[in-house]
Subunit: 333 residues, 2 copies
Amino acid sequence: MRIAVDASGGEFAPNEIVKGAIKAAHEYDVEIALVGKKSLLHLLAGKHLKKLNLSIIGASQNIDFHEHPMEAIRKKLRSSIVIGINLLKEGKVDAFVSAGNTGAVLCAAFFSLGKINGVERPALASIISLNRYSPALLLDAGANADCRPSHLLQFAQLGNVYVKYTFGVESPRIGLLSNGTEDTKGNRLIQESHQLIKNSDLNFIGNIEGTDLTKGTADVIVTDGFTGNIVIKTVEGLGDSFIKVRSPDHTRSLRGRALMADVGLGFLVKSMDYSEFGGACLLGVKGNVIVSHGRSRAKAIKNAIGLANRASEVNLSQLISEVKFNSEGKNGQ
Amino acid sequence: MRIAVDASGGEFAPNEIVKGAIKAAHEYDVEIALVGKKSLLHLLAGKHLKKLNLSIIGASQNIDFHEHPMEAIRKKLRSSIVIGINLLKEGKVDAFVSAGNTGAVLCAAFFSLGKINGVERPALASIISLNRYSPALLLDAGANADCRPSHLLQFAQLGNVYVKYTFGVESPRIGLLSNGTEDTKGNRLIQESHQLIKNSDLNFIGNIEGTDLTKGTADVIVTDGFTGNIVIKTVEGLGDSFIKVRSPDHTRSLRGRALMADVGLGFLVKSMDYSEFGGACLLGVKGNVIVSHGRSRAKAIKNAIGLANRASEVNLSQLISEVKFNSEGKNGQ
């Protein structure tokens, strides 16, 4: 597999991105193309190029976090995001990983790669693993703040394919995130979506609630991008608190992660740490795109490349294109 | 202060409710009226009646969790919920605490006590304390799944009064929960609500996101009841995980709470435990009503009575009735 990595995107670019790519090149059987400022990347990664499956592709421009996504991708044709997405479009790489301006990555993916036939709204799918039994996939994690019921039905279908082929779960349990488990609970969007998903041929287990996230109740957690983003960031914030904790008398900084591991709670802190999962997969566009956290350091980038590798191995966007999407919910899988 | 407590409501009623009331009668300067099955309450609390400020008020019926709220309060006029709310309406008590069927408590409060003049939608306000600096108030925590922008403006006004008078914060910082901090972020509801709250005379700090919950960014966290409920329950689920954790080899059950305290993380587990705060305050009805968790044990009930006592001391529902509510957001406080 060949994976393009945006070396200019994210708060800790390019250093941490390059470090993460080097780790990934050691760990996975992948070729990695670092996309960014050529001379800088040669300085940082030059000595590894011959030994590892690493290469450098020049991108003289950079899209900043505060830039307007649509304007930026129109004007900055030499940016790492536009070039990376184009490499994917031209089939020169199997996946693209970026920790840069999320809006710009989404726009470039929508408009350059295009949506898969029948998909109304591509969605960001985040792995959320808050119990010791099995990870779950939450989508939409933030691509679509306002959704219609047919979008949520499609998120269920997209998540179903992802979990089936990358986690290897034969018949993923689909749960709809709501403010109560009864069928009648939810806002209007959820009540209507519930009926649509219930009438599909998916393995729909009904509404689930916030407390179910830690119980392993569902393999796919369906939600709109507004709610999904808030849930993901609430968990992230709590995870950060555990890692950064100081002793009560403030005299010493405790290594939260190590301490938690000492008392047998390591798995929980690990599961609340976004860097363990590396990023969210954009499902529904013609290509495998991984959006990483803007604060990604080397470990997160390495894991994002692992995620991209897995998506490429199963040919995820091809599998999704074989699904029959419609608002009646008849799923071709 | 005189507080009526629903002794028939909740999974662990009446035993844990009575235990909680006895603890509260020891701890606070309150008179407590236990509302429930008379003979049973005499058995459980009889020997304390003379020593403590405790009394028993008979309620021969009980409203179950699965019952339809509106039907139940119409039919069961001798239920602890209907009798408790009536005591409040008649001025015989200063507050009512219930861990029973939440929908039934809300219905009884709306229809029997009535809404305060100008309030469109009463809201459930939950204390959420995920940082070591200061607690925050999140509302709506679940009373209104579908909201309009004017409702969210009023939630901001309700929360402002609560935090000002019960936490003693002069000018509470009001944050609007969204999927990003920029003014343009949010779904349509949040974007429109943002403008309304911005034009009010509240101390509006703008949009906040999930990661802000642990940072102490805002004193009042404004959200619709659907999102608020999911956030509260996500935090609750994670808190439960920490408390119930077992050792990795499953051979012994670790006391999560004690272990966390040992490593200096006690404050975080405590802050994720709903029983520390006792319940949510229903703001916007003519009376002080505290809705406790259905799984409340003695500690949660004791703390809910503390919350009811505080609301009564400051005369919360009276303070709210002095606010000038309107959709332009001119706040009389």
